[in-house]
Symmetry: C2
């Protein structure tokens, strides 16, 4: 018995991560060996080897490992070694895609660290060459697909899915990037507008825009892509099944981001593994957006004076306003409503193609998370 399908999302076998990493070693060796056919000079090979090592295998790997677990849930039987290898290979393609986007995102955001290490572009020998490096990471996705899926009937569908989800992610990044930082958390943006709109309406417009960004730049590739890959591998052809999956997974992705914002402020640092800095970093988080809707003009003044400032005294004042408007209760209400909504969506599934069970286990795992 190679894989126990029923408990995929909740029970992670002790060696699941280890197995997943073994597949990485295999694929990594394969793509590096393949460079031989391009007569690439030694220093080029060394560069690519370091690039992959620094950017692909060091994440949480949740996205990548979801392909196998959801495939197991879909076919609902024991899996053979080849199936496990292939599902994990697709999982690594998701991780490679993420590496491609994160290398570039860190340059565009001017980020300092990623996964506890200096960002790739900040290495002295790299700099803006990291742009071309991100292209190389992307290219490896299609090399891996070609090597392992060329003869499958769903090969074209795999390629098109990666193209489509990449494009969606790029649209999300675009909207994120052209929504100027001042707009994002300029608490004064209502008063500086020339035309007169009720601030609350404008703010709600902004929240919709923010939801668009979250859905496009994160939810498609993080939530929809791994499940859709497992569906392709399971031979599911009906387009309705893919739309159904999206209808559930995109709201789940949005909830996940709200939760991320909440945990940044109220999660246990011991548990989430870092001390949240969203308030000091002037981040456009769900919390500040809610606070702006619900605050009085006195509270708004406090938020204006303290949000995005670098001392913990400022941070405390912001947190005090959050508490005054009962943000925890609002979050709990949101969480409850969101859970009900997604539960309703899953129950509406006819359940013949996509097992409700797969989504419920996925959802429960996320709704319970404290990190």
């Amino acid at each position: 018995k190679l894989y126990f399908h029923d408990s995929i999302m909740t029970v992670i076998k002790p060696n699941e991560k280890e197995n997943f990493l073994k597949v990485f070693d295999h694929l990594n060796k394969e793509v590096l060996d393949n460079l031989e056919s391009y007569n690439l000079p030694k220093d080029g090979k060394v560069h690519i080897k370091e690039l992959i090592q620094a950017t692909v295998p060091n994440g949480k790997m949740n996205r990548g490992m979801t392909v196998l677990s959801s495939y197991a849930s879909l076919v609902n039987r024991d899996l053979n070694a080849e199936e496990i290898f292939k599902a994990n290979t697709l999982g690594w393609c998701v991780e490679w895609l993420q590496a491609f986007f994160l290398v570039a995102d860190d340059i565009m955001d001017g980020s300092i660290t990623r996964r506890g290490q200096p960002c790739w572009y900040r290495r002295e020998s790299v700099g803006l060459n990291a742009i071309n490096d991100s292209f190389i990471l992307e290219s490896f996705i299609y090399k891996i697909l070609k090597t392992h899926f060329r003869t499958e009937t769903y090969y074209v569908d795999l390629i098109e899915l990666f193209h489509e989800v990449s494009f969606q992610t790029e649209l999300g990044q675009l909207m994120d990037l052209i929504t100027a930082p001042e707009d994002k958390v300029d608490l004064n943006r209502f008063s500086t507008l020339k035309y007169r709109i009720q601030p609350i309406i404008l703010h709600i417009y902004f929240i919709f825009r923010h939801a668009y960004i979250v859905q496009y730049k994160t939810a498609y590739y993080s939530f929809y892509l791994p499940i859709a890959l497992s569906m392709l591998m399971a031979g599911i052809k009906n387009p309705k099944a893919y739309r159904d999956a999206q209808d559930i997974l995109l709201p789940l992705g949005e909830y996940f981001q709200v939760q991320d914002d909440y945990l940044d402020c109220y999660g246990d640092p011991e548990v989430i593994g870092k001390i949240g800095t969203d308030i000091m970093d002037n981040k456009c988080s769900w919390l500040i957006n809610q606070a702006l809707i619900l605050c009085s003009s006195e509270q708004k003044k406090i938020l204006e004076e303290n949000y995005g400032k670098k001392t913990s005294a400022n941070e405390l004042k912001v947190k005090k306003v959050f508490e005054e408007i009962n943000i925890k209760q609002i979050y709990e209400a949101y969480e409850e409503a969101s859970y009900k909504k997604i539960e309703g969506l899953i129950n509406q599934l006819d359940g013949t193609i996509l097992p409700k069970d797969m989504f419920f286990t996925f959802m429960k795992r996320i709704y319970k998370r404290k990190k």
Copy 2:
């Protein structure tokens, strides 16, 4: 009679460019209309519209227009309107690919202008967001292929060809980028090396490396890709035919780059449309590489003191050394040898699949060029 196949590379019908641009208008409208299905906010649409307009249609379009001309030569009959449209669509995919690479290349090189305009990334509202913009340009290639070639038997081959050529271009860029600028034209690189190698051997090693960069970062996508696309469209399946095409087109691409370097210094500015600046810009051109092989130690000293300096007095001194070593004659010998070599390669073709004629006309067009 829609297209006169026999004269493809030499006689350009007066409206050829105009027709090609009409296809651009069609494709451009199509990809912009397609954004509706992504609910992209207005400012996102405006951004993408400007991005495409600024980076895709303003080049010389030689690469793009070659697909139709070489397709006509391959099938050797009159073409119908659909065939012309499809070949030109593939041609625009080449131009879109180039836009993707040039937007990124200009950032990495810190370039100022491109095609007579400020580079895309230098617009005030763009900056490093141009990285994500380059991804978006790439994504449109696959959208266009999907819209117009999804049902063709060679659809997968088109996608794989674009993936492969993109990867080759990225490897060329990588080698170009990690060959440090000082290495490229540090005329002292021989003396600073710790280990003792005959300078001439080291220099020849460097010339090989330079040839690798030229082949990978330029020749595959500029010379091989357009012809290979027309071959796929013409239904050619034999892998040997594609290897044969490469064996001719890659050396042709290398010659083209040498010629480009030569014309920068010795072309008629009236004809090439710009005043060459390679000497002042410290460029690693074919001329300086030859000069370094052939100069005396006195001449080398003059090159060291004047190459890459910004006054025309310096430039003149470099040019004087070039003349002393008879660079024009060396170039002419190179051109002659290169012509003979490629002529020989074409004559070795059996000519049943690929018409020799197609390559000869292509070659003659390039060997005669004064701009």
